[in-house]
């Protein structure tokens, strides 16, 4: 069991077979989280570095715990400023980590494409933990993991993604992954938050939340950053909530057993109401557990890769 790839930079180029393999491995490894002794030797002798240029709580914690549960040596670098502002290039930082014997680097970066740049210049495997507005593949994998657990499979599901699609790497990765797995995706948000030519990514863009949610299997909210209002993309969060929030009224239009999802952290009362987030169909907390399992699977599968390491 291993992935025949060095890096996981996004779901755009990941096949259905690979996604199935990752989700299957996550299902197996999730058992570890239910044990009293959450420790396995899967990653013993492996070193993993998380390199975060942007704040993160759940993604970072779940990678760290995944490494620790599986006995990897792990270290963390966090930098509020970009590598450029810090005065060292990303490539140089990557080479330094390489020379310390790092097997796998988990990177989060505010600029789209940064993990791709890093991956090109290091021997270590690279996992993208979110780059700018581009991709957040491990989030989409955990979302699909959660959907699959509840729905048995992904093919034929209809998923509505509601909110700030333009700035969302979660949305992009979910679109790639869900389309690859044969699900249908609808997206909805105010026009300023829907990027140009979105339909060409193979999704259906709807004008209203009601239309997006009608009859779907999954309703996924996206986090709305306050700075979108400051940037002039929205008049107010109040108006946003009035027209685009996922609330109980909107959820009545979805299938009776539709899942309610959100990558977190939640802006309660903005993109999703508390009533919607906390109702029984909500799997928001379960997503977090799936996140650890999916990351355990990825750390395992990538460090076990049969990939021929290129010479320096």
């Amino acid at each position: 069991m291993a992935l025949e790839r060095k890096d996981l930079l996004g779901l755009r180029d990941v096949s259905a077979r690979e996604i199935e393999e990752i989700l299957d491995a996550a299902k197996t490894l999730r058992g570890i989280l239910e044990q009293n002794t959450k420790k396995t030797p899967h990653l013993q002798g492996t070193s993993i570095v998380t390199l975060f240029y942007e704040n993160s709580t759940r993604t970072r914690m779940s990678f760290e715990l995944a490494s620790k549960y599986m006995s990897a040596a792990s270290a963390n670098i966090s930098s509020a400023v970009s590598s450029v502002a810090k005065g060292e290039t990303l490539i140089d930082t990557g080479r330094t980590l390489d020379r310390m014997g790092t097997d796998l680097i988990v990177i989060r970066h505010p600029m789209s494409g940064a993990p791709h740049l890093l991956a090109k210049h290091v021997r270590a495997s690279v996992i993208n933990a979110g780059d700018g507005m581009n991709e957040h593949p491990t989030q989409a994998l955990l979302d699909m993991f959660t959907m699959r657990e509840h729905k048995g499979g992904l093919r034929g599901l209809t998923v509505a993604i509601v909110g700030d699609v333009a700035h969302s790497r979660v949305a992009r990765s979910n679109i790639w992954g869900l389309r690859t797995m044969g699900a249908e995706v609808r997206v909805c948000g105010p026009s300023t938050l829907i990027p140009d030519e979105m339909e060409k990514l193979g999704v259906h863009v709807t004008a209203s939340v009601e239309e997006a949610v009608e009859g779907v299997d999954v309703v996924m909210g996206l986090r709305l950053q306050l700075e979108r209002q400051q940037a002039g993309l929205l008049p107010s969060l109040y108006e946003y909530a009035n027209f685009f929030a996922i609330d109980e009224r909107v959820l009545r239009l979805a299938k009776k057993d539709a899942l309610i999802m959100h990558p977190g952290p939640l802006n309660r009362g903005v993109e999703i109401t508390s009533a919607a987030a906390d109702e029984e169909r909500s799997v928001i907390n379960e997503q977090v557990t799936g996140g650890v399992a999916v990351r355990m699977a990825l750390l395992y599968l990538l460090t076990r890769r049969k990939y021929e390491r290129a010479a320096d």
Binding site: V84, M111, S112, G113, L117, G132, P195, K200
Partner: protein, 430 residues
């Protein structure tokens, strides 16, 4: 010096009397004679059998980076790269350090070019002091020092009032303003063209309107003032339409595009290739088609390189922070020949008009023609040679090209600049 004799060339010379098969005799920096057959008399003979002789190309928009950014390019290296690309005259933009907003910088560039340059260099001065878009530069003094035109290239003159006054003041001196059209508010931090690819890659988009609203502004200001304006590096379908309609109304607007706007699209950015990061950004297939059509119908008068060499350190970084620009001298002719002449958009005669005759006319300089008594600026090209572009072999310090590895047709073989053989068989020899 006994001069040069070019034998057996096919002469393509849109503005000159002599066209067709013939020989060209060069003596003392000028063309002494053009005739069907000239006997050699001790001159260095260049056998141009199978080659086409064109007037030396004129690039009205490039960056030589000196003074201030000599690690990216110098006048010495940049003009050699220009010669290798078939250019014998280049107009260099003023965004140096210090910027060319004073006569002393213009004088420095001219002096340096005279000492170290391989081709004629015509410096462009700034429109505003330090290119800040606030106070006018000393246009009269810049003109007197030898500035061929004025531009804040790289930085748009954002304030419409400042541009209005600049055009009005420049009119007093008959000096041409070249406008870098880009509304900074609409750019809003974007790094690539807005469309399918920006959506797919999650890179901050730049709407085409950022360019188009300022092109519209410049044409309206020029119309109101009944004065000239030149639009730099046109890249969108909409900008072509605005210029076309302005020309139809009799507005004194001229415009240029660059090889990358008819040879590449925003799909080149895939993989976050920083060599495809340029300003204005690479656009879409529809824009490429519109730019070609506008070159064909004369809406776009000129092809300029916008040669923008960068050091690898400014490109081997995250896309958002990578420098804008393409090293363009050494690929311009081949890209134009391949994508315009081979495809039937332009005849070679029309291509030469847009790469030599029109830029010379817009700048109001001699050149762009092969004629007896005229400057001996001649380029010999092989129209049938196919090759793959190799950026590592550029003479320019800037190896930043999204066309590395691209198969092209039509190659610059020899360049004679001011009577000197600058490039022989594709190699710089001065």
């Amino acid at each position: 010096m006994n001069g040069l004799l070019i034998k057996n060339a096919l002469i393509v010379n849109p503005k000159g009397k002599y066209k067709g098969a013939g020989d060209i005799l060069v003596r003392g920096g000028v063309i002494a004679r053009i005739a069907p057959s000239i006997e050699s008399n001790g001159e260095t003979v260049i056998d141009a059998s199978g080659l086409t002789a064109l007037p030396g190309l004129v690039d009205m928009h490039c960056h030589l980076r000196e003074p201030g950014f000599e690690y990216k390019e110098t006048i010495a290296t940049g003009t050699r790269a220009a010669a290798r690309g078939g250019f014998t005259t280049v107009a260099c933009m003023p965004n140096t350090d210090p910027p060319a907003d004073t006569p002393s910088v213009i004088t420095f560039i001219r002096k340096k070019a005279a000492e170290e340059g391989a081709v004629r260099v015509l410096p462009v001065g700034c429109i505003t002091r330090e290119q800040k878009g606030k106070e006018l530069a000393e246009m009269g003094a810049l003109r007197a020092a030898g500035a061929v035109a004025l531009s804040d290239d790289g930085m748009p003159v954002a304030d419409s009032h400042v541009m209005h006054m600049a055009l009005r003041y420049a009119r007093s001196f008959g000096i041409l303003l070249i406008s870098h059209c880009e509304d900074p508010g609409l750019v809003n931090g974007g790094v690539m063209n807005e469309g399918y690819w920006s959506t797919l890659l999650g890179l901050k988009p730049i709407t085409r309107a950022a360019e188009e609203v300022m092109v519209a502004r410049e044409t309206l200001l020029a119309q109101a003032l009944d004065t000239r304006v030149h639009i730099a590096h046109v890249s969108t379908e909409g900008a072509c339409a605005v210029i076309r309609s302005a020309k139809a109304r009799g507005v004194k607007v001229t415009a240029e595009t660059c090889p990358h706007y008819f040879s590449a699209t925003d799909a080149f950015v895939d993989g976050f290739d920083t060599n495809a990061k340029v300003n204005p950004p690479l656009r879409t297939d529809a824009d490429v088609a519109a730019v070609k059509a506008a070159l064909k119908d004369g809406t776009l008068d000129c092809i300029a390189t916008d040669h923008a060499p960068h050091h690898i350190d400014q490109k081997a970084v995250e896309f958002d922070v990578a420098a804008n620009g393409i090293s363009g001298f050494e690929t311009a002719f081949s890209l134009a020949y391949t994508n315009l002449v081979k495809t039937g958009v332009l005849t070679l005669d029309q291509l030469v008009t847009r790469m030599a005759c029109n830029p010379a006319a817009v700048l109001g300089i001699d050149g762009g023609v092969l004629m007896e008594g005229g400057r001996a600026d001649i380029v010999l090209v092989n129209e049938n040679e196919n090759y793959a572009i190799d950026a590592s072999g550029f003479v320019s310090k800037g190896k930043n090209s999204p066309f590395d590895g691209t198969e092209v047709t039509g190659r610059v073989v020899h360049t004679i600049a001011g009577g000197r053989l600058a490039v022989e068989a594709g190699r710089v020899v001065i």
